[in-house]
Amino acid sequence: MKRAPATAKRVKREATARPEPSVAPRRPRNGAAARMTLELVVNGTRRRASVPPMKRLLDVLREELALPGTKEGCGEGECGACTVLIDGRSACACLVPAAQAHGARVVTVEGLARGARLSALQQAFIDMGAAQCGICTPGMLVTSMELLQRCAGRVPGEDEVREALAGNLCRCTGYQKIVDAVREVARQRKRGARA
């Protein structure tokens, strides 16, 4: 897995909305508000953007907040490539309207590393060959974070990991190395908690 580019991380400046398109977005005839000021915390940083309220969180992250780590796969909630954490729970960002992320704490794959230092989970994916083409990897990592948080120091069984990651499809690895990597990190965490 490539390291997340440093520029995509912990951006301190407020996100500014993209320039208005030359053709103003068509407004519904009944005059519903076309845009809202979205405020949310992304990877620990407060962010703000002016967006259409039904814009997908996936597009807000990628286009408005310059966080392209979250991928679009199927666009119908099957593949999990766009998985992010919303208030600690995994969700497909392709199925979430921006308005429903207002006031939420969102974690994307860019939020896992600390500066140039990868998280234990990312490192384990590299060390154990759990990433190949990489398109599913951000979603795999993010869902695994939810699992590790839920396990709270316990090492999940292989079936448990497979069930947790059932919503993340990978066409390269055959899953075994991913499962192994997640369990390895859980073991590390357990040892760390005991030490």
């Binding site: 519903a32 508000a33 939810e146």
Partner: protein
Amino acid sequence: MRSAVSTLGLVRPKTLNDALRAMAATNGGPRLTPIAGGTDLYVSLNAGSPPGTRYLDLWGLRELRGVRVGRAGVTLGALTTFRDIRDHVVIRKRLPSLAAAAAEVGAWQIQNRATIAGNIANASPAGDSLPVLLAHDAVVHVRSVRGDRAIAFSDLYTGYRALAMAPDELIVAVEIPFPAAGARMAFRKVGTRRAQSISKVVFCGVLHARRDGRPDHVRLAWGSVAPVTLRARDAELSLLGALPSPGARDSARAALTDDIAPIDDIRSTRDYRVTVAGNLLDRFLQWTDERYRQN
């Protein structure tokens, strides 16, 4: 092609009353389409077939959240997610079929957002939780500016994706009674793969029998085998009062074939569904019969 979501309006009420007033207002145009977790709605939007142009965001309404446990059953707020359901200690113990169904809806990402009322209102004949609600005699509570109404789940669907609800009504809660002590219940979903599949056949059975093994309460509820989620009423009747036996199981299976009306579609065929539904029923009855043979 994806829908141009920038053109879609969203009303964001602060309270349930605001939401009900917004649902009542037509302003001469089409009504608002409610959105809860959005897990099904956005599939339609992303596929370019939006069900409306103006939406009503229910997600922030605290009044619609929470699980209330009473003596006779549980009441789920409309926005109770499948994650909430599968993690709930009382539901796992007293309504294990509901917990099992919740754990088979999509995968974690979907369970974290998808709501019980969304599954009901979406009214897909393949909805995973719907046979469970039907088999447990659930009651759906709806509300509008005109007042409250309770609808028996068995009366909710009037046809394919058609609900016995007025256009301004919102589902506010679902009440699910606990089965009688000693009742056996099972949930089974058959899809193309273990996770992330839409069912070919989905089943929930509840059966209570007297001490001699003769059933005095039977609910056999099915999804994906008809335009609506339905009870196999003739099969239920054939079992009531009948001593458990291979013959009784065969009669129930024969009755089931007439109760359901599956079709050939993209997910399965009529014949496959009839066979699988019969097998599921037979297995359920063998399992419930077993207990009386041991006693």
